[in-house]
Symmetry: D2
Subunit: 145 residues, 4 copies
């Protein structure tokens, strides 16, 4: 199983600082594989809230994760300072596919990289719903030109 080629920092239009926590390290001394997905989740939802106006507690339309994946290329560990890179590779009416990468600060090659798919649904019925225009616009700004 050959390792994938690390993605480069510049290929992501948005970056968010990520602070590691003591608990992120597992018994082998590095960030547990599970924790990377909490970074993914945070990078994405911060964009949706800050730029797309997502109202976590009361909005009619919410994003549910239907698929995620991650390739782990080099170990990271508390107390490293990290950055998450975010881009959008497919944008539909009710769904979006993100690519995310995690970088050690100062390193241009990703330490981990993955994908995450959100389907937007009506909060009450949980059926797919067209995403609000402000969210769609915010996501469109993360697409490659």
């Amino acid at each position: 199983m050959p390792s994938p080629t690390p993605q480069l920092r510049d290929s992501y239009p948005h970056h968010l600082p990520i602070a590691t926590r003591w608990m992120d390290n597992d018994v082998y001394g590095h960030d547990n594989n599970v924790v990377y997905y909490s970074y993914f989740d945070t990078v994405i939802n911060r964009w949706l809230v800050d730029e797309g106006g997502l109202d976590i507690g009361g909005g009619d339309c919410i994003g549910l994760c239907v698929e995620s994946r991650c390739a782990y290329l080099r170990p990271l560990a508390f107390p490293d300072a990290l950055e998450g890179g975010l881009r959008v590779v497919h944008l539909g009416r009710s769904s979006v596919r993100y690519e995310i990468a995690i970088f050690a600060v100062g390193n241009v090659e990703a330490a981990a990289q993955g994908e995450f798919v959100h389907v937007f649904v009506d909060r009450a019925t949980r059926r797919p719903a067209e995403m609000p225009p402000r969210i769609r616009d915010a996501l469109a700004r993360l697409m490659p030109r």
Copy 2:
């Protein structure tokens, strides 16, 4: 993006009960996407410890995750009782590809299903190492016949 076909409970040779925790639910009322990977991790490592004799704290050879993925088919939530199904689809000298599925107890169709790849390494050097025979035997028992 069409949903994948749910895997069936019988197609996994090993099952482990999983108890949900209050914290597993996120603000949308269901198991957070991240938490499924902690189920995966636990199902796999319990097998390695119980059947393969993995010594988490002192063994020379440890398994590091290099890749994982999950497709989320139906919501689960605390306080549901769950089960994890485990099988091995590729077994090399120093690496193994698992397939895992999460079931609500009493349901034969997976609520979530995914993959996880371990590379076994020397604990000190962190370079790939042949897995111990007892671990390899335990993993071989999870392969389809």
Copy 3:
């Protein structure tokens, strides 16, 4: 700082099995101190849901934690099988003080023991509210006689 005296299993009227997870262990090889509170939370809320009819997603009255504490007496670690003991030491109109202890299965002395205070509030206003009779009855059954 002298260690507290371990509480005994029999002094808790209710016990819930707790399965450890791989991620519970931290870099020093044992359950991280934080994780015990997720056990507390789970033991308590399972009782509220199962016996008190707490409706996490839709009930008018919800319990918010205003105080918690834990004393750690002996290490626990994945893949240990654990049990949580639960009792109620103060029961008011809108608040309850629980005592919880965590036991390694087969051990009558607590490995960790602590307290947790819930204030019940109206879900919408988040102001203190009298707890529903069914919840109060369920909690009263956990008081010492």
Copy 4:
């Protein structure tokens, strides 16, 4: 049960920024009670590593938590930016009692406040050990004058 008086930001000599994560919020829409302890843990260990030279992976002397507590005064939630305040109220030869408080950025009154006790032990024997001078000096700088 009267609420405790909120501690003030100025009464802590050290502050660390804390970034919330999506997963920190529970089903009731705010930071879960458990998560505050991961903030505590992180504020403390960052000080031990950065100022005390604690070597998480290889040092002879490590700090184990024997007691912790938290009072929750006002809700916090992702995506809030937070700060942790840290002070030392008792410093022994092998143990230290910290007080920690969590602040919403821009707010001088604590949203949560608590305590945490570390006992330093020999990594191999796990028996109490005198803390290294550099750690002791770093902790002494956090005591009130």
